[in-house]
């Protein structure tokens, strides 16, 4: 999801910012996308320290992220 949304919306983000999640590392293809998602406020992870990158998503949470990506003014 993170990669798909970031590829679609190309949000600006700070690549030097500290990654708050212990289950995400730089070798993952979605590393930068996850940085963008959290900095953009689209998702804040499943806990303070975990993002849950391999967890499956349900229809409502994907809808929430897409709405936030489409219209940050209304949904962030």
């Amino acid at each position: 999801m993170a990669l798909l949304i970031q590829n679609t919306y190309q949000f600006k983000f700070d690549p030097a910012a500290k990654m708050p999640f212990t289950d995400v590392n730089e070798s993952m293809a979605s590393y930068e996308a996850i940085q963008a998602m959290t900095q953009q406020g689209i998702t804040l992870g499943v806990s303070e320290t975990t993002f849950g990158p391999s967890m499956n998503m349900n229809r409502y949470s994907f809808s929430v992220f897409l709405a936030r990506a489409e219209n940050p003014l209304l949904f962030k």
Binding site: F62, S63, L66
Partner: protein
């Protein structure tokens, strides 16, 4: 005008304009042999159209040219270029007096607005009227459909408001309203307190937006007043004829229910805006509207007045003036969703065409009602509904300082200066608009908006994510399942996610073969998947698959 117990209809016999179906212009069609046609074109020029399959040209000719051509080319056939038009709905000239002709009100037509005519019923078989429903509270009802009109008065009133746009007969001010008949008056045009009060109650229970009362009662009838007060409190716009009692000077000849403060009283004017001589006068007068020789629908079986048994006739009186005002309010009601009866009344007052003594007076009230497409005199909220989305714009913002729009105690998200937006599921919602007016007075106004969609069985406003889903739904990105559910907690597949992204970004979703070996043109998402691939949004798995049915991971 109908009195309780006593009938006074003012009649007028007028010849009706006949429709023009064909009309000559100064262009002509010339049919002759090819050689002659060439010569004609050289000599007479001004060819406006040529035909290929038969020797025929269209020419612009003066009367003398035409005669000359015919003389020189005696075998040439000259035909007039006739203008054909479909038989049109006749627009009452009275509508232009209040800026409510179809040209002036377009694109609004009263769509979605429920209007009831409490009267002698409405002719349910009239080809120019579509009655959505009704009730009979009179002592004597019609035999087949209880609220059918066997007197004529109610049918005439109804036609002014809502005669159909059907290229025949007439058209009403608001032809697309849902029209309801409340037959509280019997076949002699009379009714009792209980019958009329019961009719108003039916209007409340059936959520009627606009109630037309072209009735006149000489006494103050408290039970009726109480019921009308309740209807007004619940948001109904109530309009009544002022009465046809004449009068002069400071006399108060107005009748009930027009005199009640919950009711908008309408007097009648002639075609030149002068008072119709019998129109009542008094301090409760609110608007003037056309009421002289108004041409409208009438039950055909009773239409014996003008020697034309065609289902139409002229009538005069404040009974005919009131439905003009009801029609204008129906247009406003459609144009301004959410505004209360109180607010719409204020807006109509502020835009009336002042007549007689400057300001409000006993003869014309605030003046002749006028439909104004852009009301300038009053600050108000223009709401626009797009499925589950409501956007609000403050109009005439220069007249309102510190504007605020709240739902309960929460300020709505602003999407720009004097603009707000919110997304909801099916239901009724109330908002509060507050501002300070130009006199420094703090004002608070309510707005109530009904949404009919999205109506997913398993997503309601109790779910925190409902606004997000409604947003996607309102922007045609997601539609849920055919069984009316959304299944919010079901895992989302990669194919479904790509459909959502594709719709959000306006990608070409036409099903087609893709670069992925497991996504063929048979897959509903194939178009979006290929389009996303082309845009570099996705790349698939190293083995050349996309795995469309696998769940999306975070």
């Amino acid at each position: 005008m109908k009195r309780v117990g006593l009938l006074t209809l003012l009649l007028a016999f007028l010849f009706l304009p006949s429709h023009i179906f064909a009309e000559e212009t100064d262009t002509y069609l010339i049919h002759a042999n090819e050689d002659q046609l060439e010569e004609i074109k050289v000599q007479f020029g001004a060819v406006t159209k040529e035909f290929e399959e038969i020797p025929l040209v269209e020419l612009k000719l003066s009367e003398s040219d035409k005669a000359a051509l015919q003389e020189q080319f005696s075998s040439a056939e000259i035909y007039p270029n006739r203008q054909y038009e479909t038989a049109a709905d006749l627009v009452s000239p009275s509508f232009s007096m209040i800026k409510s002709a179809p040209k002036q009100t377009s694109p609004y037509s009263g769509k979605g607005v429920k209007v009831a005519v409490l009267d002698t019923g409405i002719d349910t078989e009239h080809p120019d009227l579509k009655v959505a429903g009704g009730v009979c509270t009179a002592a004597v009802c019609a035999s087949k459909v209880p609220y059918d009109d066997n007197f004529g008065h109610g049918t005439h009133v109804a036609g002014i408001i809502a005669a159909q746009k059907n290229d025949s007969g007439i058209i009403g001010i608001a032809p697309n309203v849902q029209l309801y008949a409340i037959k509280a008056m019997n076949n002699r045009g009379s009714g009792s307190t209980a019958q009329i009060t019961k009719g108003v109650e039916w209007a409340i229970q059936n959520k009627i937006d606009i109630l037309n009362l072209s009735i006149s009662i000489s006494v103050n009838d408290r039970p009726l007043e109480l019921m009308l007060q309740e209807a007004y409190k619940q948001g109904m716009i109530i309009i009544s004829a002022a009465g046809n009692e004449g009068g002069s000077g400071q006399m108060d000849t107005m009748t009930y229910p027009a005199k009640y403060s919950s009711v908008i009283a309408v007097g009648a004017v002639n075609n030149d805006f002068s008072r119709e001589e019998n129109s009542s006068i008094g301090p409760s007068m609110e608007f003037a509207a056309p009421g002289t020789e108004i041409f409208s629908t009438y039950p055909k079986e009773l239409d014996e007045w003008d020697n034309k048994i065609d289902g139409y006739r002229n009538l005069t009186g404040t009974s005919m003036a009131a439905p003009h005002v009801a029609g204008v309010f129906a247009i406003y009601k459609e144009q301004y969703p959410g505004l209360t009866n109180v607010k719409l009344r204020e807006m109509a007052q502020a835009t009336a065409k002042d007549l007689g003594t400057p300001g409000r007076d006993n003869v014309y009230g605030f003046g002749a009602i006028q439909y104004e497409k852009e009301i300038k005199a009053v600050p108000f909220i223009q709401a626009a509904i797009k499925k589950g989305g409501i956007s609000f714009t403050l109009k005439n913002s220069e007249l309102a300082t510190s504007p605020s729009l709240k739902e309960g105690t929460t300020e709505l998200k602003s999407t720009g200066t004097n603009k707000w937006e919110t997304y909801k599921t099916k239901g009724n919602y109330s908002f509060t608009f507050s501002y300070t007016d130009t006199k420094g007075v703090k004002k608070t106004e309510n707005l109530s908006i009904s949404l009919t969609e999205p109506a997913f069985k398993d997503v309601t406003m109790t779910s925190w994510f409902a606004p997000h889903i409604s947003y996607l739904y309102s922007n045609n990105m997601i539609s849920g399942y055919t069984d009316g559910t959304f299944k919010p907690r079901k895992e989302i597949t990669r194919a479904e996610a790509l459909i959502l992204i594709g719709r959000a970004k306006g990608l070409d979703g036409k099903a087609r073969n893709t670069v992925f070996k497991d996504v063929s043109a048979n897959n509903a998402a194939s178009g979006y998947i290929q389009a996303a691939y082309d845009k570099g949004i996705l790349s698939g798995f190293p083995d050349g698959t996309f795995r469309p049915y696998q769940s999306v991971t975070r």
